[in-house]
Amino acid sequence: MLTVLALPLALLAMQQQAIADRLAGRVSPDIAALVDELGTAAAARGLPVDPLIQKAIEGSAKGIPAERVAAAVRLVAMQLDTAAGALRHSGLAADTVAVAAGAFAITAGLNGRDIAQLARSGAQASEIIVGLRVAGTLVALGVPRAETVMLVNATLQSGRPAGELLALPGQVQAAMAKGAAPAQAAAGLARAAAAQARRGPPPGHGRPAHPPPPPHP
């Protein structure tokens, strides 16, 4: 019985020590205490701690006043919660890498509903993680949310290799360099991906057909 109680306490102590080690000499004691508090709570809920530590270090490195750093760290904690909530129905909430990718997408401008929609694409977890990162990058390029979700979803469902997802921001940038608006560029690529999805992947490419799960109410 004592072991059952001692084990979580030991893990908690290790987690706190790891946070303290990474922040040592990089942030003020107040910020370190805040990150410790938020990080420990996040870890207890299965959320990643690294984005909180990174934001605190970034703020301090940039010479940002402590209260603004604290606000930014709290905002990151909220984004992690939102991302985890959006990923819950697709079974990815326990994947800290997926949650961090979702939180980044939210930072870029997507919302929880967009994250959930991408997570329900039926793709494998590793592809959804890449999809979330790419979606955030597309929004950062100026592609509207609706077009971003449509493009990434169509590519995820086309059965094409996940590497093609990583090429999407470059393709959008290339089209923008030729004068296309971000939305136009993304819409054109989404149409091509949707057509590919109807035809199925080329022989020897992509993953086997895998219908997306039904949407949750």
Binding site: A108, S126, T137, E164
Partner: protein
Amino acid sequence: MSQRVFHPLVKLLLDGDITLADLPAELRREGEEAMRLLGAVDRRPVKLPEMSQRVMQAIAQRHERSTWRRLLEPREIRVRFRPWLVAPALAAAAALVIWLGRPEPVATPAGAVVTVRFVLSAPDAREVTVAGTFNQWDSHATPLVRTGATDLWTATITLPAGQHQYAFVVDGVRWVHDPAAPAVDDGFGRRNSVLTL
């Protein structure tokens, strides 16, 4: 058996390259004689049963040799150089190389590292570094170097696959995002550039 030597022009006549009328007058008689001798040759096929039999036996024996003997037995290999085949052969080889080496879009596997080159145009800068999630936002860890006499500052580093946020630090105090990369709000009223690998 006596051997008659004909004039070269008569030999041409025998080869069918010229006609009797093409020969000079003094060679016409020699030409007529040569044609007559040619006509006297019996061109009916000669049947040599013993020889045929020997040849067929030899062929049959060659087929009966074991695979190992055929593989190990030294043979003469003649290679003829045909210049008109060089171009198509090279084209076929090039097509094969291109097909085998065609770029295949693949997802960057987890744990993989990717070489990245950071570039910033900063003509008035005395020092440029890049800081980001990959170096714990350490503004001294990754300096850029000025490329020759140009305004460009560059740094080439390897990064783990995934997503990174970063910013350039000019002269140790000014944080600027990469104008060539997508950027997101950093939460402090500035922008962080984004790198998705």
